[in-house]
Each structure stands twice: as C-alpha cells, then as structure tokens.
C-alpha cells in the first residue's frame, strides 16, 4: 500500500518541488535517448528468447515423438525386409503409426544437398519408414533387437543423437537472450546512475541551499528520481514501440527460413514488450535513488 502511494505520488508529481531543481537539458535528452536505444535492443533480446524458447519446445516435443527406420538391403530383398519391418512396427506397443516415405518426400529431403532434379529412383538410396510413437513411447532397445532379427537391413534412428544438441542449442540461445536482457538492464542502470550523478553534481548549489533551509534527503532525492524515472519510461516506451514495429515488419515465417523469420512474438507474447518501459522505469527509479542518496550523504 505504501509502495502504491509512493508510486502515485511519483506519477502525480509536485509542481512546487519540481521547480526547485532546474531542468538539465543535455542529461535529459541523453537519458531519453539511452533508454530508447536500450529498450529497442531489449525488444530484440526478448523476441530472441521467446522464439528460441518456442523452437526448443517444438523440437523437443515434435522430434521426440518421431523416429525413422532406414532399410538398406539389396534390391531383391528390399520389399521383403520393408514388409517385415512394417510388421514389427505394427506389433510394437507404443507406436501409433508408421509409413513409408514416398520418392517425392525423399527427393525433398535430399534437395538441399543435390538440387531439385535429383533422380531418386536411379540412386541406391535406403528406404525410409517414418515412425510416430504414442505418448507412452516404445522400448527402443527391444525394437532394435526385433528389427535386427526380422529385417537385418533395418536400422532404427530415434533422432536422439542430433535432437539433443539442437534442443540444447536452442535452450542456450534462450538463456543468452535473457542474459542479454539482464545486461541491457544493468547497462541502463549504470548509464542512468552516471547521468543522475552528473545532474546531482551540476545541482550541488541547489542541494546545498535546500538542505540549508530544511529539506530532507528524501525530498531532494525525489525531485531527481521522478525526473529520471519519467524520462526513462518515456524513452523506453518510444524504443519499445519502434522495436516492436521492426519485429512486426520482419518477413513472415516460411518453411525455408523458419528459424530466422520465426524471430518475433506469437499470440499473447506480443504483450510482453509492454513490460519493457515498466522495467526501465523501475531500473531508473532504483538507480537514481541509490545515486541520489549516496551523493546526499556527503552533503551536510
């Protein structure tokens, strides 16, 4: 309740008290500019975090539920081993469905390496069976043993080997995004502290006179804190709007570049950047108050 009242007082301001501290043109402009730039960067860091978070979840959940059986056998035995493998898959608990990938699908899989006109039918390419498991999953080792017995050319690839580093990489990217946000907040605090200290130093006479006539430290600090908090909130709001606009203007997602164009917000997460000006204002409030109180301790 006390904090709410303090916040209201901060927003409402005090015209008389605000007049006591003269406006400082350069530091005011720099604070707004700095807050704006930091908020702009923060929007991208936030977008990166949220996008990689979605990506990690998608890879983790979607790839975890699919695997592939690759059948490499002489042409005469290929169909026989494929049928045997399918039968094993059909009878294995935990497998929802399986299907043989068609030539067109295999061609699309190889297209990034060999180009669009690859004659798949003329190449000794193994046959691929896509396996979709149930929520419970299947016994990987048991399936491998049964496939080895029934279809010796069949190899089960449950994607674990390459899925894990991808998910791990996405999680690292997400973490980096949050670290970037923390660094931005820290840098903003440092810059605002410097600007506030400069303003306090420039107003040493004002502080000395107001202390002399009976001003409390909290009164003097409030005049500076309010000014820097509002400037930061204003700059951060403008920076956030520009950042969100830049994200919104990115090309729309497509299969070819889903990762890059997937950088952005989805659904409710579009509201997340609205927290940035608030975060900036809180950082400015704390930084300026800390700077003011530490400077005022040296004033008698």
């Amino acid at each position: 309740m006390g904090a709410f009242r303090a916040l209201l007082a901060l927003l409402r301001g005090d015209t008389q008290a605000d007049r006591v501290v003269p406006p400082t043109g350069v530091s005011a402009s720099l604070t707004v500019l700095t807050a704006g730039a930091m908020a702009f960067l923060c929007v991208f860091a936030l977008a990166l975090s949220l996008a990689t978070s979605r990506l990690a979840e998608r890879w983790d959940s979607e790839l975890a539920r699919s695997s592939t059986v690759r059948i490499s056998a002489p042409a005469a035995e290929l169909d026989t081993q494929t049928r045997a493998a399918q039968e094993v898959l059909r009878l294995t608990p935990g497998i929802a469905r399986s299907r043989i990938l068609g030539e067109e699908e295999q061609r699309l899989l190889l297209e990034p390496w060999f180009g669009p006109d690859l004659p798949v039918e003329a190449l000794p390419i193994p046959r691929l069976i896509e396996v979709i498991e149930t929520a419970e999953g299947y016994d990987t080792e048991g399936l491998r043993l049964r496939l080895a017995a029934e279809a010796p050319g069949a190899v089960l690839d449950d994607h674990t080997r390459w899925r894990r580093p991808l998910v791990h990489a996405a999680q690292r990217l997400r973490l980096l995004g949050w670290v970037a946000i923390a660094l931005i907040a820290g840098s903003t605090a440092a810059m605002i502290t410097l600007a506030a200290r400069a303003a306090l130093s420039a107003n040493a006479q004002v502080i000395a006179v107001t202390r002399l006539v009976g001003a409390r430290d909290s009164y003097i600090a409030r005049a500076f804190v309010r000014r820097f908090t509002l400037r930061t909130a204003l700059g951060a709001a403008v920076g956030t709007i520009l950042g969100v606009a830049a994200i919104a203007l990115l090309p729309s997602a497509a299969e070819e570049g889903a990762f890059l164009t997937g950088l952005g917000f989805e659904g409710i997460s579009w509201a997340a950047p609205a927290l940035i000006p608030l975060l900036g204002a809180i950082v400015a409030f704390i930084a300026t108050r800390f700077a003011a109180m530490s400077v005022l301790k040296g004033v008698t």
Binding site: R19, V20, V206, T210, A215, D217, T300
Partner: protein
C-alpha cells in the same frame, strides 16, 4: 535552546575552535565578534549543524547534535533561520520563490501562505522585486531577501553571518533594525560581525551581549554592551 559544553572543532589537525562553553537563552540577542578567521562562521555552522563538534557537547533544542539523524537535522533547521554573507539563492527561481523555499521543501502549499509571503516581502521592502531573479538584485536587496527567507518558517533562532558585509552603512542600519524587530518578537538572534560600529549602533535599541572569539576560543562572554 542552543548549548555548548567544552566544544572543540578541528579540521585536518588544526584547531578552529576550542573549549567553547555557553548557553543561548530564548529571546536573547548576541553579537559574535572577532577577527577574520577567528572561527565565527565555524561557531555558527556548529549551531545549524553544518559542522559537528570534534569534542564536547552541542545541544540544539535539547538534542545532542552528534546523535541527530539527517532528517532530525533537517527538522531542526526549519526552526533556525540562517542569513549568509554571500546569500545562497537558487538563481533559476524568482525572489518570491526563493523566499518561499523553506515552505516548499517542508511540503507546505505555498498558495496557503500567500498573505504571509506578501507581508514579509513588504516588511523587508522587496514588494516590487518579487518576480526578479536573485542575480538581478543589489547586495542590500539580496541580504533582505535572505532575511525574509530565514524567517518565513517563523523560526526560533536567527543566525546571521556577516549580514552587513556587502552593504553600505544605511543598509546595515536597516538590516540591523529588522533583526532587532525580530528579537523583540521573541526570536533569538546571533549576528556574527567584525563591524564594531554596527554593534555600537545596536546599543541604543536592544539589550545585546557580545561574544568575542579570538585564538579559537571564547574570550569574552556575557558582557552587556
């Protein structure tokens, strides 16, 4: 009201004041005199807690100055009006706003005190200069404005540090009259000055005592003029 008991103040190893003991009663009028650098300003700074005694006890309104927190010092300063020789003002504010500054920092609504401010400005003869900025004023006007600011909160004590140092004799007399008038209203007044003519001029108007500081200590206390 203000009590010094064996007070000493030293800075960087040098004694600026030593063994000062005295008690200032409510409604008293004191001149603090002595050569330049004797420690008059230091004494006044100890009174309004810009400095804290190195040894000894300074009691302000019954409280040990050494044990007072910063908010308590601020509260005590609202009961002490200070007039400096160099009249520290906020140059970006009008004279009227400067005079009302103690009210502003105390969180009072200045609009409620309009009548008080107006009569105070009339009393110090600055009615027509209210909207001017401090740098636009003469030395005498600045001193009178500083006096107005010092008493706007109706303080119990008024401390004036060489208030007539930068003004002519006529203006000195006028400032002295204002200080004597305040004393007659019950305020305690301490005026630091090395102007003996000013002290003699006060003799006919007020029962004042002279405190002389020399060689960093109080050499004469309590003598009537």
């Amino acid at each position: 009201m203000i009590e010094f008991d064996k007070v000493a103040y030293s800075y960087s190893g040098a004694d600026l004041l030593s063994d000062i003991s005295l008690r200032l009663q409510p409604g008293s009028f004191h001149f603090l005199t002595g050569p330049s650098g004797a420690g008059k300003s230091t004494f006044l700074k100890l009174c309004y807690m810009e400095l804290i005694a190195s040894t000894g006890l300074v009691q302000i309104f019954g409280q040990d100055a050494r044990g007072m927190g910063r908010d308590q010092i601020a509260a005590a300063r609202r009961r002490i009006g200070v007039v400096h020789q160099d009249c520290k003002f906020l140059d970006h504010l009008s004279l009227r706003e400067n005079v009302a500054l103690p009210l502003t920092v105390a969180g009072r609504d200045v609009a409620d005190s309009e009548a008080d401010i107006k009569s105070l400005m009339d009393w110090v003869g600055l009615r027509d200069q209210q909207q001017q900025r401090p740098p636009e004023l003469s030395g005498g006007e600045r001193q009178r404005a500083a006096l107005a600011r010092a008493i706007i909160m109706d303080p119990d004590i008024i401390l004036a540090d060489e208030p007539t140092g930068n003004v002519d004799w006529e203006m000195s007399q006028r400032l002295l009259s204002l200080l004597i008038e305040l004393n007659k209203l019950g305020k305690s007044v301490i005026v630091a000055t090395h102007d003996m003519n000013l002290i003699r001029a006060a003799k006919a108007q007020v029962s004042a005592r002279v405190l002389r500081i020399a060689n960093h200590s109080l050499q004469l206390a309590g003598a009537d003029l």
